[in-house]
């Protein structure tokens, strides 16, 4: 609701520009915002999942269950459930109402990536080590596992001749492994990316691959879908990022996939340094993409309209892994590979001085003041007050949320996590700190406050002595 008063200049800034602060609680291996953007989930190398409160920068929850590094975390749409996957061959579905493990699903190999269905937290897809992807349904006590194919879809009309010619290639392709599985925004289709550079679209209801497109010849290691569901980004081992416009799939496309248009819109690479990209993400609207770089400390931001580089974010002194774009604000988080610290970039909004003193105007140059005709006339105050009170006849609605132009619409009813005040204390607690200009000031003040407290207690003691 602060939009109506915010500075239009700061609102027009839609990508982060300055390093804001960092969070540290253990060694973070992956970071993902929830859909509302008020919580940040961080999977750690020791298998713990930690939730940070984005607004305060403080710890919101600590959840232990994995024994090895967490590879991915995925939020349910309402933010109540969280799915984590780990190298310990397990996926855990957490219920954040009480932080309990709602379900533990074991696999035979390490889980690289697991994502919840956008509308049903009892369905998820997992990409696991040296295996084909799985679709899992845990709505009943018995877990229903369905193995999906990593093989690209082939038009069935090819003649025998062609089939023979391609058999060798097919054999090679049979070795293709899926590293990433994403749901599209409707949850009806899965987008999987393989080590052979193929992107397969799988119809969730029938578990069949309906369409494939080969974007590259090297392995695709990261795939992300924008919050709008319209843009996809793929990061592959050939040092190139590719964005693809996600086609709106219909039932007819399932019957006849030839109409599906799935083409690379833009490619992004660093031609000079030939940088590898560690990880990437798209802004919620798909207007910008960001990527962390291999053997480098920066996060690159491109705009996707023309494909031009707009910003290189600096700050940390270590290589960055996971990056994630905030769902509503111009804010990016990235996890450091070396220390596991979480770095946050945001925008810098200068204070508008006119907000502090509304009767002052900010002028470009001197203006000659012209006195109004009645400016110093005598006015009867009582009469003026009465006239003003009489003018106050407007109807006011203190409850309704609908009409106003400031975007006062009733927010969709959503689940909010209970605020825990007794997060388990541990020795690592001292590690939680916000490093940034504002935090430094507050810490200084805290120190001062602490001293005051000490003095106070001293005074009390003296009293007790008396």
């Amino acid at each position: 609701m602060n939009l109506s008063l915010a500075d239009p200049f700061s609102l027009s800034q839609d990508y982060p520009e300055v390093f804001s602060h960092s969070l540290h609680y253990g060694h973070s291996s992956c970071v993902v915002f929830n859909r509302q953007g008020d919580l940040l989930a961080s999977g750690r190398h020791d298998g713990t999942v930690v939730l940070f409160d984005v607004e305060t920068g403080g710890l919101a929850r600590i959840m232990r269950g994995h024994t090895r590094s967490v590879q991915s975390v995925s939020w349910s749409r309402d933010g109540r459930y969280l799915l984590s996957s780990s190298l310990d061959c397990k996926c855990i579905l957490w219920d954040l109402e009480d932080g309990s493990r709602k379900r533990i699903i074991r696999f035979e190999a390490a889980v690289y990536y697991a994502e919840l269905h956008p509308y049903n937290h009892n369905i998820f897809a997992a990409a696991i080590h040296e295996d084909h992807p799985w679709l899992l349904d845990i709505s009943t006590d018995k877990t229903v596992r369905t193995k999906l194919s990593s093989l690209p879809w082939k038009a069935t009309t090819s003649s025998d001749d062609e089939a023979q010619k391609t058999s060798k290639a097919a054999a090679q392709e049979a070795k293709a492994l899926t590293l990433i599985t994403l749901f599209d925004s409707t949850g009806q289709y899965l987008i999987s990316a393989t080590t052979r550079g193929w992107v397969n679209i799988i119809h969730v209801a029938t578990h069949t691959t309906i369409f494939s497109s080969r974007l590259t010849k090297s392995a695709i290691v990261t795939a992300r879908l924008s919050l709008s569901g319209r843009s996809l980004i793929f990061n592959s081992r050939d040092r190139i990022l590719r964005t693809v416009h996600m086609p709106a799939l219909t039932d007819e496309d399932v019957e006849d996939p030839s109409g599906i248009l799935f083409e690379v819109e833009h490619t992004y690479q660093d031609l000079v340094n030939r940088l590898y990209w560690n990880h990437c993400d798209i802004s919620p609207t798909g207007e910008y993409i960001c990527a962390s770089t291999y053997m480098n400390h920066d996060v690159y931001i491109w705009e996707t309209n023309k494909g031009s580089l707009v910003k290189i974010l600096e700050g940390p002194k270590e290589e960055l892994g996971f990056v994630d774009w905030h769902p509503t604000r111009p804010m990016i988080v990235a996890s450091g590979l070396e220390t596991g610290r979480i770095y946050i970039w945001a925008t810098n909004n200068p204070q508008r001085w006119s907000a502090l003193a509304p009767d002052f105007q900010e002028l470009e140059e001197n203006v000659e003041y012209i006195e109004k005709e009645d400016e110093f006339d005598y006015k009867d105050r009582a009469e003026m007050t009465k006239a003003r009170l009489d003018r106050e006849d407007q109807e006011v609605d203190l409850i309704g949320m609908d009409d106003a132009p400031g975007g006062f619409r009733e927010e969709e009813k959503r689940w909010t996590m209970p605020v825990l005040l007794d997060i388990e204390e541990s020795s690592e607690d001292d590690d939680v700190k916000i490093v940034g200009p504002t935090a430094a000031a507050s810490q200084k003040k805290k120190k001062a406050g602490g001293n005051a407290g000490a003095a106070e207690s001293k005074g009390k003691k003296r009293k007790a002595g008396d």
Binding site: N2, G58, N349, D397, I399, V419, S442
Partner: protein
């Protein structure tokens, strides 16, 4: 010694006392010819019998008809603030006697006494889940209390002077507080750390409130300003001033967040449209007496009435639209400081310098 003197809210030590003579209560308190036109009359009902609590009832057909239900005694000093819990089950009252008491909202029975503050308490706030309470005190601290266990769970130190007002954000992860040290502070309640210090005002901060989605904070002060802050950036978004605006003693957002209700020490309560360029006063509510104390105001849950305490020992009920005084509730024996409306029922709770808490029910 009068314990009230130690309490910031009850007797501000260095505030300029304004002797604005309060405009006399309109003679036509019981004129509801106008109000009846805007609300459907529910047929001719017999005028209600004058209640035990000699409350001056205007006998409206559809207006409020609050009657005293319970008087809760026990506080050994003036009660500065009283609040219904968001779930409607409890009443919390904070007093100059350094205690916080929680009462059952239905029966009025004392449920719990929280003691730890070393000076009088000026304000109390409920967390949105009704499980935690926050109190701001003249001992310069804010303390968090757990209702279930009765324990004190956090002590927030940082203010350099009396803590005057305190409020939770709707998400329940932050607290905002205002103090005699002229600053507004935002606290992370999980860690108990002060997250932001807003150099807000040049005089004691009398009230702070979060908007319904928590993105903005409004604060007011004896320096006659009302300021609106962005919670996230900590920057001032807007300042509301009016020519010759007197000291502002209470401020709050309307339930939908479109307006701000501000009480000032010239015995008036103004409803601001703060979105309008420069801010505009839409309504002025007059009739009560408020020249010295920070007296709370409240909206009824249906947004039709405004309640406020008064220094003439009464509680005033206004019609939001017509600005008419619909009812004046009398039973307190001293200045009425706090009012709070029940979130789901037509109940009102009030407190005052006489050390009592009173529950009123609308018997329509």
């Amino acid at each position: 010694m009068d314990s009230l003197d130690t309490n910031g809210r009850l007797s501000p030590p260095f505030k300029r006392q304004r002797t604005v003579s309060p405009s006399p209560p309109p003679n036509g308190i019981s004129r509801f010819g106008n109000s009846a036109s805007s609300e459907p009359a529910s047929g001719p009902t017999s005028p209600p019998i004058q209640s035990l609590s000699n409350s001056l009832s205007p006998r409206p057909n559809s207006g409020p008809n609050y009657r005293l239900k319970h008087t809760l005694t026990g506080h050994k000093g003036g009660v500065s603030s009283v609040k219904f819990s968001p779930d409607g089950k409890w009443i919390a009252s904070a007093s100059a006697d350094k205690t916080l008491r929680v009462w059952d909202a239905k029966t009025g029975e004392l449920e719990q006494i929280f003691e730890a503050h070393t000076a009088g308490i000026s304000d109390v706030a409920w967390s949105p889940d009704s499980k935690t309470l926050a109190t701001g005190s003249d001992d310069k601290t804010i303390r968090l209390w757990e209702l279930k266990s009765g324990r004190m769970i956090r002590i927030l130190k940082g203010h350099h002077n009396y803590v005057y007002c305190v409020n939770f954000n709707p998400q329940g992860n932050m607290i905002v507080s205002g103090s005699y040290d002229e600053a507004v502070r935002v606290w992370d309640i999980r860690s108990g750390n002060c997250q932001k210090t807003l150099p807000a005002h040049q005089d004691p901060v009398a009230a702070v409130d979060f908007i319904r989605d928590g993105t903005m904070i409004v604060s007011c002060s004896h320096d006659k300003l009302i300021r609106i802050w962005d919670t996230n950036t900590g920057q001032c978004l807007k300042t509301l001033v009016e020519e010759e605006l007197p000291q502002v003693s209470c401020v709050r957002f309307s339930p939908n967040g479109k307006y701000i209700l501000a009480s000032t020490l010239d015995s008036s309560i103004r409803l601001w449209d703060y979105l309008r360029d420069g801010g505009k006063v839409l309504k002025t509510y007059l009739g009560h007496v408020n020249v010295k104390y920070s007296i709370f105001s409240a909206f009824s849950r249906d947004g039709r009435y405004i309640f406020s305490g008064s220094e003439d020992k009464a509680i005033y009920v206004w019609d939001v639209q017509t600005k008419e005084v619909l009812q004046i509730l009398r039973d307190h024996e001293d200045v009425v400081l706090g009012v709070s409306a029940h979130p789901t029922e037509n109940l009102l709770v009030t407190c005052g310098l006489d050390g009592t808490v009173k529950i009123w029910a609308d018997e329509q």
